[in-house]
């Protein structure tokens, strides 16, 4: 490590979202009510590009917070507004919150975007964009995907689909194109200018269906170009596939991560690309570790890949080992500092770490 800071949140989080001004947002996902949404100001060590030494301020500060009656499974800021959107069980409705103004530090729930529900207990995956207006893309299943205008609550687009597969993630590739990832692994593209055309899974080499999948798309500093960025998918058994969206008939790369088995389920599977380091991605959700990989050396053989770095802090930290080892619930990369990541685990720990490139002087 070059740097490691460990913090303890009062309640564990399964999301870490960046907000403007380098703020970070976390939220509780406990079943009982009284979950808190916290917008944090990271310590100055994280705000500057150069890592300082013994910085006077090494702590996170809670800038503002809100109370949620339901567990918060997903949270996204709505760009260019002071709003954020959350979702969580028991249904796929969304809650819209106002991040406070000058006079108070409370995040207030200002409205709810209700959706028609099936009988299943599912929660909506969300993505936001503010191209033509502040929009939120949401849905728990392929046939329930829609885009709603956040402020007016108007429905802007509804996807037409034959299938009703459960979704594990969705994203805006640009202001007209959506990328949807199903829990069984299929990727679908949709153009919102053509709402009538069916949304179908892209043809790609088959991947084992018994596993659960999640995806990671790369958000470069200059916004994402559909063509250039490969999409990564991670399965609950540790399989990693990289796909170029222009040529989905074959994998760009296929590799296997060494993960414990039997796995701990797919609840917290997370894969993300490094925004400031070409070809690097990180995975977590199998145990108390986060793995960092350099995908530039990968091929399509499906061989086991060696991680460039493994963060084990969550497995060792904490007060007294009673019972289960903590499980990493989420991780994210720092937007500017190339090797800095934040990770959170089921025991409430929040780590900020900066790893050293192994083939260096040490």
């Amino acid at each position: 490590y070059r740097d490691l800071h460990t913090f303890e949140l009062q309640a564990p989080t399964r999301l870490i979202e960046w907000a403007c001004g380098n703020r970070v947002c976390v939220a509780g996902y406990g079943q009982s009510d009284g979950n808190e949404i916290l917008q944090l100001i990271p310590p100055p060590t994280l705000l500057t590009k150069e890592t300082q030494g013994l910085c006077p301020e090494r702590d996170f500060k809670v800038e503002c917070g809100g109370f949620s009656e339901r567990p918060v499974y997903s949270l996204k800021y709505v760009p260019d507004t002071s709003l954020l959107v959350t979702s969580g069980p028991p249904d796929s409705s969304l809650q819209v919150w106002q991040v406070s103004a000058e006079d108070s530090d409370v995040i207030k729930c200002v409205s709810t975007l209700a959706t028609e529900n099936g009988t299943e207990q599912s929660w909506a995956k969300i993505a936001t964009i503010s191209a033509r207006a502040p929009w939120v893309l949401h849905g728990s299943r392929l046939d329930r995907v829609q885009i709603t205008e956040v402020e007016s609550k108007k429905n802007v687009y509804t996807a037409t689909s034959r299938g009703s597969e459960e979704l594990s993630g969705l994203a805006f590739l640009d202001c007209n194109t959506l990328l949807l990832c199903c829990a069984k692994g299929q990727l679908c593209l949709a153009d919102i200018r053509q709402p009538q055309s069916l949304v179908e899974a892209m043809s790609m080499p088959s991947a084992p269906c018994s596993e659960q999948w999640c995806m990671g798309t790369r958000h470069g500093a200059q916004g994402l170009e559909l063509s250039s960025q490969p999409v990564a998918r991670l399965s609950s058994k540790g399989l990693l596939t990289l796909t170029d969206l222009r040529k989905t008939s074959e994998f760009l790369a296929l590799a296997k991560a060494r993960v414990p088995s039997p796995g701990s389920g797919a609840e917290f599977l997370c894969v993300s690309w490094a925004p400031a380091l070409e070809g690097y991605l990180a995975i977590s959700g199998f145990d108390g570790t986060v793995h960092v990989y350099d995908t530039q050396s990968w091929d399509s053989s499906g061989r086991e890949a060696e991680p460039v770095f493994v963060h084990k802090g969550h497995a060792f930290g904490g007060a007294g080992g009673s019972g289960d080892l903590p499980l990493v619930t989420v991780h994210t990369w720092h937007l500017q500092k190339p090797r800095t990541l934040l990770s959170a685990a089921s025991d409430g720990s929040l780590h900020v770490w900066d790893w050293v490139q192994p083939c260096g002087k040490c």
């Binding site: 800071h5 913090f7 310590p43 013994l54 809670v62 530090d105 409370v106």
Partner: protein, 535 residues
Amino acid sequence: FPAVLLCPGAGQDVGRSCILVSIAGKNVMLDCGMHMGYNDDRRFPDFSYITQNGRLTDFLDCVIISHFHLDHCGALPYFSEMVGYDGPIYMTHPTKAICPILLEDYRKITVDKKGETNFFTSQMIKDCMKKVVAVHLHQTVQVDEELEIKAYYAGHVLGAAMFQIKVGCESVVYTGDYNMTPDRHLGAAWIDKCRPDLLISESTYATTIRDSKRCRERDFLKKVHETVERGGKVLIPVFALGRAQELCILLETFWERMNLKAPIYFSTGLTEKANHYYKLFITWTNQKIRKTFVQRNMFEFKHIKAFDRAFADNPGPMVVFATPGMLHAGQSLQIFRKWAGNEKNMVIMPGYCVQGTVGHKILSGQRKLEMEGRQILEVKMQVEYMSFSAHADAKGIMQLIRQAEPRNVLLVHGEAKKMEFLKQKIEQEFHVSCFMPANGETTTILTNPCIPVDISLGLLKRETAIGPLPDAKKPKLMHGTLLMKDNSFRLVSPEQALKELGLAEHQLRFTCRVHIQDPRKEHETVLRVYNHLKG
């Protein structure tokens, strides 16, 4: 009802603590701090608010000081000797021993170094301390017939205490600065379920999520190690007491583990005073230290030796702890001047530095300092700041509230705007009211007074015989007659009351006429009504 006033002064800064509490007719001053950021009269609280109505000694029943930090006791000599107060001042034994040292230290900088005039003198500090009554933990002290106080362990620094102030059945708990997690040399704050009407808690760090102690220590040791490995010297300016011991223990353990050979020195002044006080107040440190102290003297270190000023010129790496803590005078400043020009060396400031001191200047980034005689000192050595101070964060505050179970909570030291979230959190979780007054603002807390009433044995027996026994959580309704005579309240059965008052019992019967239209026969209708009522 208790009314709380945060003593007015300049601004709403965190700088200073001074709170006035009015409880059941008694007036108590909690802490008497000085603002460390100001160089003029703004550093002292403005007492004219109180004095305009008469003498302070008549108005105040007592003054309580929570611990020896200057932002809690720095204005005490000014208050008692220059403004004028002759009543009792309460604090714990360690606080009483340490306060005068820090006050004198601070007086020296302000008057001798900066040449200020409107400041208290050494004699004033002495006279002030003569008015101090030292208290033990958990000892109930009767200030007068009605007012009593009790100190609880607060952690934070040696001798720091939280105080419970009780008048009759109304009580207030003031926390001062406290810490809910134990560290190497102090335990965690603790209070029993005293259920005060009001808990006044500091909330400076309420919105902070602290970096783990292990990480801070790891980084501190890493810095020291790196400097020593490259042959540099590390200067750590400290106050005589407090964090110095913590850091010593930390270094000693590290040196032992890593088998390091570089010498570590402790300023002679420090060794004597510190050890002396710690031995005196060993009960105030935490369990672990007390245990090891029995086996070997925890403050006699294997790797840490007494310092001699000649050693500062020795070649090679070393670590030195020297007083005073802000590099404003004395040995630490002397050593600093010798080592500042070499970039291999490092100075680590372990605490807050007052404006005007060298410590403050170098922390602000100044690298060319003007010393006595117009000499310019160029600072090439590395300057680091490492804060180990222990305060309660949001989680700690919630823990304390859970322990004490107050009916109301008042938060001091935070900015009201930024505390709305914490206020709601406290109110939601504990169903109590939470107040956040600004400086100069008076908050009034309404309490439900408890009025003790004697109950006659006969009535008690009768009521407990009926139905289940009363449960502490579910009050049971009972019937009786309250007799108020002179100043006594008694609850007796109605029959007894009548007898005592010499009154006869009357019975009132209410009848009312109801018309029922029913085609059935009379006795049938009566039967139906009867059955209906019975059912």
